[in-house]
Every structure is written in C-alpha cells, then in structure tokens.
Amino acid sequence: MTLKDRKDKFMEFWNEYKKVKFGLVGLAFLIILLLLIIFEPLIVPFEGATEAWSDIAYWQDYPQNSRPVWTNFFSKDKRTPSVILEDFKETELPQRGQVRFFEYEFEYDYNYDIAPKDMILRFKGDGKPFVTISIIRPDGKTIDLIRNREMIISSIDGARVSIQNNSGANAYNFASNYESAENLSGVARDRIDVMPVIMSKADVGITKGAEALKGTYTIKISAILREPQENIEKPIITMSGAVSGLMGTDNQKRDLFTGIILGIKWALLIGLLTSFVSITIGVIYGVICAYFGGIVDVIMQRIFEIFYGIPMLPLLIVVSAIFSPSIWLLIAIMGLLYWVGPVKTVRSIGLQIREETFIEASQALGAGHFRLIFKHMVPLLLPYTFASMALLVPGAIVAEATISLLGLGDTTIVSWGQILNSAFRGGAIINGYWWWVVPPGLMIAITGMTFAFIGFAMDKILHPKLKSR
C-alpha cells in the first residue's frame, strides 16, 4: 500500500475513534502520561532523580512523613509548608586578632497552627567554625538552640545542622519553664519535638504545640572563624514543613510526587513491553494452530494448556526469591506467561477466517503457508491484537506491582509497586499515612483504566465488520 493509502486508512480509523467518548478519555490520559514522561527532567526537582531516589543524603532536608501541601486547604489547623530562607543580614563584628566574628540574621514569618518538622542550617565554605544558633520569638523570648558547636565544612556537601536532632535538651529546658509537670513527665528529654516547643505559646501544652505562636521569628546565627582561610558562604535555613510537596513525603523523607512521576515510565514500559511481547507470541501461536489444524493444532494446544496451567504469580515469586531478578527478567517472564491469554480467542477467530472463501481462493492462486498466515490471517486479527494489547497492560502493571509489594521486585527501579512496598514496610497503614498509599494505588488504577478505555474503544471500532451485500 502506498503512503497515501496508509494515511487514508488511518484517517478513516481516526474518524471512527473520535466518536467513541471513553476512547478519547483514555487517549487524553495517555497523552498526559506521555507528556509527564517527556517533561520528567523538568518536573522532577533534580537530575539523576532515579538514582537519587535511594540516596538518603539527597532527601536530607525534606521532612519525614509529611502530608501533601494542599491538605492544608481542608484542615482547620494549618500545617507549615517547607520553606527555604535565603535572605539574611550579615554583620561582621570587630575582629579579635585572627579570630573573626560573623552574625547572620534570618527572618521568618510564621502563620500556621502546626509547626514545621525541622529547621536546618546549611552553609558552604571552608574551615571549622564554631556556630551558635538562637531564635527570638514574637513574644520576645529567646531560645538558644545550639551553642558553640564546631561545624566541619566538607568540601563536597558543606556543613549542615538540624535543630530537631541537636536542640532537644535546650528545647526541653525552655519548655520546662512553662509546661505542666504532668505533660513534662510524658516527654523524654532526648526525644522531644523541638519545633512545636519553639513555635508555640509559652504556656501549658507547649510540648504538644497546643497553641501556635504566630508572628515573625528572628533566627540569629553567630559564627566564629579562628583561622584566616576559613570562611562561610551562602548560609541557608530550610524549614522542613509539616506539609511538603504535591504528594507528601515518606519515612525516608522522599518526595512522593517525584516518586510517582518517576514511576510512570516504568509502568508504561513494563505494561507495553510485556503486552507487546506476549500478544505477538500469542497471536502467532493461535494463528498457526488455526491455520494448520490437525495434529499440529492438537500438539500445540496441549503445550498451550501446560503453559496456561502455570500460575504466574507463584512462579514470579519463586523466581524472584531465588534469582533476585532485574526488571527486564521480570518482563521476560511475564511475557512468556501472558502469551496464553489471546491464544484461545485468536484460534477461534483464526479458525473462522480459515474457512473463508478468500483463503481458499488464495490457495488456488498458489499462495504458500507464510503468505496465507501473515498476509491474510494476521492482518485480519490486528484489530483484536491491538485491543488485547491495550487490555493486557493493566494486568502487567499490577503483576509487577504485586511482586514489588511482596518485596520481590527489582528494587533498583522506582515503580509504584516499589513505593507501595516501602509504604507497607514503613508502617504507612498503621500510622495512617494515606498520602503514601493512595497515590501509587490510584496511579496504577488510572493507568490501567487509560489502557482499558483505549483497548475497548479500539475493539469497538476495529472489530471485523459484518459483511454487507
């Protein structure tokens, strides 16, 4: 067929497809998913995100287990979102000999009900300065969070200190001035939640963050540089929010939205590759059975039945447990098991096509087996093929998700199943971290739905039309 013929046929198909509403819905979703894959590098906050996913250091400054930002819209008590404070006032105090004294002042407007999870100071530079951090609350009270701590600036990462991890004792002391004995007794010195203490009203209940103290906070950082070559550059304060990101974070502080986006390409890859491989094998297998019939058919059917009887999930589990396979091996195994799906139907359609007069006519013209199978029978099955391919995708995605959920999948990739697996292990269900569980599950469902819609729409149109005289 000429190019123009192909184009005409495609247009004909497209016109038909446009009429099926849910097919368009499916197609729209597919386009969205594809766009997300294409623009992944832009959406995802940093490069090489796939590798970074497992790197704890990457996510250091993110809060742990925090909800998505938009949940604030629905709750009465507003949680603090993550914020990076970059503007500061730098003051250099008079030197004493070689020793230099610097002060940095940051301002933070706090208007929320639930305090951030952490406050982290980072800076680059050189040396081992002594750092003191104190915070002046809107009510005038000052808390010294960190006193004269020697901070080593690494050439790679700079220096970093987390208030939550290091100011427990100071926060406890501060809180004990105002908190009731009852409440205090329930709090361990080294395990206290520092941020609520800092940012709540100085009253009973301060350790629980009972009433937020709203207003402007000033954070003062003093640094002592003893050696001349030491210096401090670009200090930044990160408020690790109580809410973070579009989909929150998990217990490894990873932004789940990033994870979801990264998972799209794996889902599509797994789904499409598996279904492509298995449908191709299945259709050719079914057509050959139908075409040759007789003893060939009988033997092939028996082989088919053996494969059909193999339970996929147990097999995947066993293989995964023994060999710890990569995702490619998993796809191969799924492909080798899923092919049984279309065979029976393809065989019955094939048997019908086999009886058609035009097959006999082509035989009469001298056509050989190859031509009859691949030029006549398979093209007529193409519509069913595409429809099945689309419908097999959700199955493959779920299969991989199941394996990953059971902890047997390929941990080097970021798939939604993997995310669900970590959610399970990280106690998401028990702790009610719904944002960790729902989005991956929802994405599996939506992607499945996308392909199901497309598959059904195609099936509706491409189904061999009834003959008309």
């Binding site: 006519a361 013209l365 001298g366 039309k465």
Partner: protein, 342 residues
C-alpha cells in the same frame, strides 16, 4: 507420458475418487469399520481444448468436490488426472504451484472470495507476487490494468483503489475473474459464478466470460445446479448424481433428448417463465429423497428413486457410461427400453 495434443483434450479425468473418512463413534472404532462419505465416486470425463463443459447436479452430487479435485485444492483418494498430456494426480509442491498457473477458479460468492481488507489492486497483484511475475511494481501494475481491461472493469485506476465492498456483485465477480486471468491459465473452473448475482447482470457476466474465452483461448469447467443457465452457456453437459456422472453429451442433446431417468426428472422439475402453468401440478418422475453419501445404494445408485427401476438395476453391478451416439453417453442399463416406453 503420452502427449494427448492430437486428441485435443486439455484434461482427462479417469475414475476420480474422493472419499472422506467419517468420524467413528466408540462402537464403530471397536468394530474396526471405517465409514466414508463418498463425495466423488468414480468420475470419468474429458475436457476438450477450448470447450465449455458444464457439471450439473443437485447439492451433494459431488460437483463442487470434483471442481476442487481438478483445482488440486483436494487430493484424490483414487483415480487419475491427466492435464495437457501429463499425469498430475500426484505432484510435488513445486509442481502444484506450476499447475496453478494453468488452472484457475472463479468462486460462487464474489464478495467472500476476496479479502475485504485488500483493495482491488492488491487482490490482483497477489498472484503475480506469488508466482514472481513482473519484477517491478510498474510491470505488475501494467498486467493488472490489462486484466481489468479484459473484464471491462473500467476506469481501471478508479477500480484499483476500491475495496470489495465498494463494488456491486457483478463488478466483484469481474474483479475475481480478472484475478484468475492474470496468470494466463489454460483452464478455468467456474463454481456457480453467477448464482449470487442479480438476474439482470448475470448475462453480462456470462457474456464477459465468453468473450474472455475467445480472446484468451480458455477452456471452462462450469459447475452449476441451474440447468437453464448451463444450457445457455455450455457446449457439453455432464449430469452428476451422488458422486458419479450419469449422463454426458452435448448440451442440447442432454436436455432435449435426456436418456437417464435422473436427468429426465431434473428437466421436468425446472420452472420456465411461460404462462398457463399456474394451476398445473408439476409431474416429476422421481421417488423419495437423496440418500446419504455414506450409504450409497447397491447396484445403480439411483435405483431407489428411479420410477423405471427393475430388479436388474439393484442386483447387477453399477452401470458404466455407455455411448448412445455422437458422444452422448448414459450410465443406465435400461435406457433403450425406457426410450421405447415413452
């Protein structure tokens, strides 16, 4: 390998047999019997070069199976086929492919005989590709256009682009004929080529087929159940019953001077567009129903239904074709007496 060019026979069929084994039930399997559907049970005829031989009979008589045997779409279980002087009863794959260039078929259902997804161009190109005729696309297209012109499916460019469902019944049959012609065959087996076509177009297709025969020197084996059309189109007619030829001869002779009781019954059963027959009961000299091809009656297989049957018909061996005159043969022992009875 006798060269039969002198006799001018393109095809000779001798005692051709096609028996289909019937699936046995458990009892039969244990008893070790094998039943057969004897679709073609000893058929003998000659097809002269350039002639049109009609193979006529009711459903189940074996005419379509005979056609498929001639086409080598089926392999015979017995008998011999000689094409152009060469014994082609058994042949290798290559020989069969070569045979296909010489013997082609027109099918009954013009729509079903073409893949609905191909356009006419593809339909006609297929045989060329299979037999590697025409090295370039342009060469092949030339041949396609020539074939379409031969069957008067013009304008050619227009029809080449169309799919079968965009053509009328008559046009489809022309296209199918063009496809069969493109290989330049010597023999065309036509299986009910016009029965699915409207009356007003039938003659047009038959006329086209006759013209094609004249232009290309073809020979036809015309299979049909319609005696009237057979008379119009064919030169000679062979009447089949239950897998055998019971009468064969010139079309006019077989119809106007039928010898076999079965032929006579067929003739009397056919309706004619003549006034005054509305209130007349059709006298059809035949009894009972067609028996199953699994249980062929002993002796003359027509005897249970024959109104002239006498004990000799079922007691003696099955009658062979006897010549009456001028190539008019009949497979009936008593035909002379029956003629006298009239």
């Amino acid at each position: 390998m006798k060269e039969n060019k002198q006799t001018g026979n393109l095809l000779e069929v001798k005692n051709l047999q096609k028996w289909f084994p019937v699936r046995k039930n458990l009892k039969e399997m244990l008893a070790g019997e094998q039943k057969h559907v004897k679709a073609v049970d000893g058929v003998t005829f000659e097809l002269k070069r350039g002639e049109i031989l009609g193979l006529v009979g009711e459903s189940g008589c074996g005419k379509t199976t005979t056609g498929k045997l001639v086409m080598k779409l089926l392999n015979p279980t017995g008998g011999q086929m000689i094409f152009n002087g060469k014994d082609v009863t058994e042949s290798t794959k290559e020989e069969t492919k070569k045979y296909r260039r010489d013997v082609q078929m027109i099918f009954q259902d013009p729509y079903a005989s073409m893949n609905p997804r191909f356009n006419i161009r593809d339909v006609l190109e297929e045989p060329l590709i299979i037999h590697k005729i025409g090295k370039t696309r342009v060469e092949r297209e030339d041949k396609i256009k020539k074939a379409l012109n031969e069957v008067k499916l013009t304008p050619v460019e227009d029809f080449m682009k169309r799919n079968p469902h965009m053509l009328s019944g008559g046009q489809r049959q022309r296209a199918a004929t063009a496809r069969s012609l493109i290989l330049n065959p010597k023999l065309m087996v036509a299986d009910e080529p016009v029965s699915m076509i409207d009356l007003s177009t039938r003659a047009e297709i038959l006329y086209m087929m006759k013209e094609v025969q004249r232009d290309l020197g073809l020979t036809y084996l015309y299979i049909t159940h319609d005696l009237s059309t057979a008379r119009y189109f064919t030169d000679r007619i062979a009447v089949m019953y239950l897998g055998r030829i019971v009468e064969i001869g010139n079309a006019d002779d077989v119809i106007d001077n039928s010898l076999h009781p079965y032929t006579k019954a067929l003739i009397s059963a056919v309706c004619e567009p003549i006034a005054g027959k509305v209130n007349l009961v059709k006298e059809v000299p035949i009894k009972g129903e067609i028996p199953s091809a699994q249980n062929i009656p002993k002796g003359c297989r027509f005897h249970p239904r024959c109104v002239y049957a006498k004990p000799e018909c079922w007691e003696q061996k099955e009658p062979e074709l006897i010549e009456y005159k001028d190539g008019h043969k009949v497979a009936c022992r008593r035909y002379k007496e029956i003629l006298k009875e009239k």
